[in-house]
Amino acid sequence: MTDHDGSTPASPARDAHQGYDRVAARETVVMYNALAYVLAGPLTFGPIGWGLDHLLGTSFLLPLGVLAGMALSLYLVWFRYGSQ
């Protein structure tokens, strides 16, 4: 299949449509990436808290880790996608 990209005359309607597609695709990607981040926070710091609880004989570090992980995740999502 040959490449016709350079030779086709630009059509404003088509460009607008493709621009819309691009924005929609980007937003979809941001949504799913945000989901991966929000899962990663509690999944990372929850087990760390659980392990520290086990070592130190306490019981408050697991919920603290889950919450801190969640907060960190939300901060990162905001930093990456919300602050531009």
Partner: protein, 274 residues
């Protein structure tokens, strides 16, 4: 009776034994998805393996048949192939990865998209009617290919240390960089592939189970039920029809999203440091 029908799917999901007397409605269970045709156990040839082989043969035949005598004025088949190729090449690969690097990833993305699309659509096309991706092994295999690809090209481009450095976005306050790095590491290496595989699997699994429930439930009510249940059975078939259309949309969308995210992960691995 209707209570029993409503309660049955939950019992089926947790693997409870169906009604012992054989008279009641047996809801579809997870067993519907494991259908060994030859042999048993981990090396059994299942219905899903036959369906994916069929899809590969079909895609291969279609692509060769529609492009062997490619013409300036395309035939219908050639037009279909070129449209799909155009969407993947321009709409996904070039827009996401960028015009410098995208061309060498088009074969991978095009194969992923067509393979997933055809296998998903097989979920509602008779006589196949089995979505391959509702068996978790298939999405995992596809995800592994994407996973190895984007880490490999990322490490090859930036070097091992450089690749890990690109994970952390620049401009963060110094104090939380180590924690963010850990978070990014888990995201890139665990939750991204996990959600990629589970999203495709879950959508195909749940959709197929829903269709099975409405169709077998409708059949049971129409054949075995009294007058009122027969009418409800017709309603169940109507729901099955509506959900089949809905499934077609989901199946297309999931193939697109899987390819879109694969392209994004590749683009992310190739991205220059800011």
């Amino acid at each position: 009776m209707s209570l029993h029908v409503l309660g049955a799917p939950m019992a089926g999901l947790v693997g409870a034994a169906p009604a012992a007397d054989g008279a009641g409605y047996e809801s579809p269970t997870t067993q519907e998805f494991y259908q060994p045709l030859i042999g048993d156990g981990p090396f059994a040839v299942t219905r899903a393996s036959i369906v994916i082989l069929l899809s590969v043969a079909l895609i291969g035949w279609f692509l060769v048949a529609t492009t062997r005598r490619a013409a300036i004025v395309p035939s219908k088949g050639q037009w279909v192939t070129e449209s799909v190729y155009g969407v993947v090449r321009n709409g996904l690969a070039r827009d996401i990865i960028g015009s410098h690097d995208f061309l060498r990833f088009v074969p991978l993305l095009f194969s992923l998209f067509t393979l997933i699309l055809v296998n998903n659509l097989f979920g509602i096309i008779p006589p196949v009617q089995f979505p391959t991706m509702s068996r978790i092994g298939f999405p995992i295999a596809l995800t592994l290919i994407v996973y190895v690809t984007y880490h490999y090209i990322g490490i090859r481009k930036h070097g091992l240390g450089g690749y890990f450095k690109t994970l952390v976005p620049p401009g963060l306050p110094k104090g939380i960089v180590p924690m963010i790095f850990l978070l990014e590491l888990i995201t890139f290496f665990i939750t991204r592939p996990l959600t990629l595989a589970l999203r495709l699997f879950g959508n195909m699994f749940a959709g197929h189970l829903l269709l099975l429930l409405f169709i077998t439930g409708g059949e049971y009510m129409v054949i075995h039920g009294g007058f009122g249940l027969k009418i409800a059975g017709v309603g169940s078939f109507a729901m099955a029809f509506v959900l089949t259309i809905f499934e077609a949309l989901i199946e297309f969308l999931q193939a697109y999203i899987f390819t879109l995210l694969a392209a994004t992960y590749i683009a992310g691995a190739l991205a220059d440091e800011h």
